[in-house]
């Protein structure tokens, strides 16, 4: 089980090195994306002005506070986040959400936008596993419900697109030492979620028999 430090954007070769069970720390840039963002991007044909090629997206809709987009003014206010807040927002609390709802957007995110890493909780399904394998991507598990901690890994909200969908906008975060994250699904067809699910299904009959409910 290796630990990897990845500076964003990543190359296909970077991603192919990752194996299920490895841990990863991300540096520099991370995009936040959610149900509504992807419904608008892929069902309603909206395009983002951000270049997501080689990047990581996290399934999130953050708690934010409006600030003066002038960087010197916002720094003077002693914000919770440092760096430049050109977006006009600073982080209050940023974590993750259940990825499964966004399963059908994995392939278009990769094919159309060039995304290589999806971060979330609870895992994705077989279509995503195939997309990761064919196109060179992976799923990194961040701990759901640990947002207070994860907020400390985000240094600024640099920019925001499609903000009419707030809080389900497309966010660009500056990050430092974002992780450790767990490789839940890799680019070689591996999925920790599939393995756990299979092992759970195998135990089901014995568990029910013990309950007298076989």
């Amino acid at each position: 089980m290796a630990h990897h430090i990845l500076h964003m954007p990543a190359t296909e070769a970077d991603i192919r090195k990752l194996r299920v069970g490895d841990t990863v720390t991300l540096q520099d840039t991370l995009f936040g994306i959610r149900d509504a963002t992807q419904i608008h991007m892929f069902d309603r044909g909206r395009r983002t002005r951000f270049d997501l090629n080689g990047h990581a997206v996290i399934h999130t809709a953050p708690n934010v506070r409006k600030v003066d987009p002038n960087p010197s003014a916002s720094l003077a206010q002693e914000p919770a986040t440092r760096g430049t807040n050109h977006s006009g927002y600073e982080a209050v609390c940023i974590g993750t959400t259940t990825s499964d709802r966004m399963e059908r957007f994995t392939r278009p995110l990769m094919e159309r936008e060039g995304v290589r890493i999806i971060i979330g909780k609870g895992g994705l399904r077989e279509d995503s596993a195939r997309a990761f394998q064919e196109l060179g991507g992976c799923y990194l598990a961040v701990i759901g419900g640990a947002a207070a901690l994860e907020t400390t890994w985000i240094t600024a909200i640099e920019d925001v697109d499609m903000d009419d969908l707030n809080p389900e906008s497309l966010w660009r975060f500056a990050i430092r030492d974002f992780g450790p994250l767990i490789v839940g699904m890799d680019s070689h067809g591996g999925s920790l979620y599939r393995d756990v699910q299979a092992s759970v299904e195998a135990k089901r009959a014995a568990v029910l028999a013990k309950l007298g409910a076989g």
């Binding site: 069970g21 509504a36 999130t60 809709a61 953050p62 708690n63 934010v64 506070r65 409006k66 209050v92 609390c93 940023i94 974590g95 993750t96 959400t97 259940t98 499964d100 709802r101 909780k121 609870g122 895992g123 598990a141 701990i143 759901g144 419900g145 640990a146 947002a147 207070a148 901690l149 907020t151 400390t152 707030n166 809080p167 767990i182 839940g184 920790l192 979620y193 393995d195 756990v196 699910q197 092992s199 759970v200 299904e201 135990k203 089901r204 014995a206 568990v207 029910l208 013990k210 309950l211 007298g212 409910a213």
Partner: protein, 300 residues
């Protein structure tokens, strides 16, 4: 018929309710109840899987970071639920109380600020108030305790709420059908509901009451036991069963799938055998304010 008022009553004003609603929403999002913290330490001490232990350690660290930085435990501000218990000899304007709870919720959202996680179900428009039609969800109950009004706030996260299951089983399915349904619900929910969870099970009643019982069960403090002896027995059996499946924290494998399975029961019809599952995630947040003639006590 006549109306009699006596001096020995507790009067609670809408302003006091509004302030409490605002305070409780923010407090619930930031400070985890002691029984849940103890639950984490218990799971951590018995977990045998290495990865699961590290996941639990991150969750425990997050609780400390949230308290130290006075930040929210989880980004999901949830659907705001308020449970109001009104004792005997309490004077409160019920209509004004409901408006005051909504005002307090909206003020918490705007003034903290918090993410409004509430949208219109058809247009999907977010009013950025955490309020909307029938939201906050408000349940009012009347209890015997004299001159006491208790306001409990639960920010119900969506990851776990999406793991809700109802089945109108029939008498011939028996108790074994109920047990099988709960185990299969836990399997279906997997890691999506942010385990370790409190798995709430409703048995009996009507379809809507059954699901309400499951929610009451899921949001009960850890260590509490079903008042019905048969329900209490089922809690022990199902807790052991669910934790034998190996789903683990975040669905990544391990022993710690549920802090506990809680059961609530209601009488049902001779032809019916309803069962419901509602899940509380590991960020099992709640806060309460108890009004008495001596003042207001804020707790969990």
């Amino acid at each position: 018929m006549s109306v009699i008022t006596t001096p020995d009553k507790l009067r609670v004003t809408p302003d006091a309710i509004e302030e409490a609603a605002k305070l409780l929403y923010i407090r619930a999002l930031k400070i985890l109840p002691d029984d849940i913290k103890q639950g984490f330490f218990r799971l951590d001490s018995t977990e045998t899987d290495g990865l699961a232990k590290s996941v639990l350690a991150t969750m425990i660290e997050n609780i400390a970071v949230a308290e130290r930085t006075e930040n929210l435990l989880c980004q999901d501000t949830g659907i705001p639920i308020f449970n109001v218990q009104i004792g005997r000899d309490v004077e409160v304007d019920g209509w004004a109380l409901k408006q005051a709870i909504a005002r307090g919720t909206e003020r918490a959202t705007r003034e903290h600020p918090l993410r409004s996680s509430v949208v219109h179900p058809i247009t999907r428009v977010n009013a950025h108030t955490s309020c909307g039609a029938h939201v906050p969800v408000i349940h009012v109950d009347f209890v015997e305790t004299p001159r006491t009004l208790r306001l409990e706030m639960i920010p119900k996260g969506s990851g776990s709420e999406n793991g809700s299951f109802l089945q109108m089983l029939i008498p011939a399915d028996g108790l074994s059908g109920v047990k099988r349904f709960v185990v299969d619900a836990a399997i279906k929910a997997g890691g999506k509901v942010c385990p370790p969870t409190i798995l709430g099970v409703g048995v009996g009643g009507t379809s809507d009451l059954c699901m309400h019982l499951a929610k009451v069960a899921a949001t009960r403090p850890l260590g509490s036991v079903c008042a019905d002896a048969e329900g209490a027995k089922l809690e022990v059996e199902l807790s052991e069963a669910v934790n034998s499946l190996g789903i683990g924290p975040q669905g990544l494998g391990g022993d710690s799938t549920a802090f506990a399975v809680h059961v609530e029961v209601a009488a049902t019809h001779i032809t019916m055998n309803p069962v419901a599952v509602n899940v509380q995630c590991h960020s099992a947040r709640r806060a309460s304010a108890t009004f008495t003639p001596e003042g207001v006590v804020v707790g969990f």
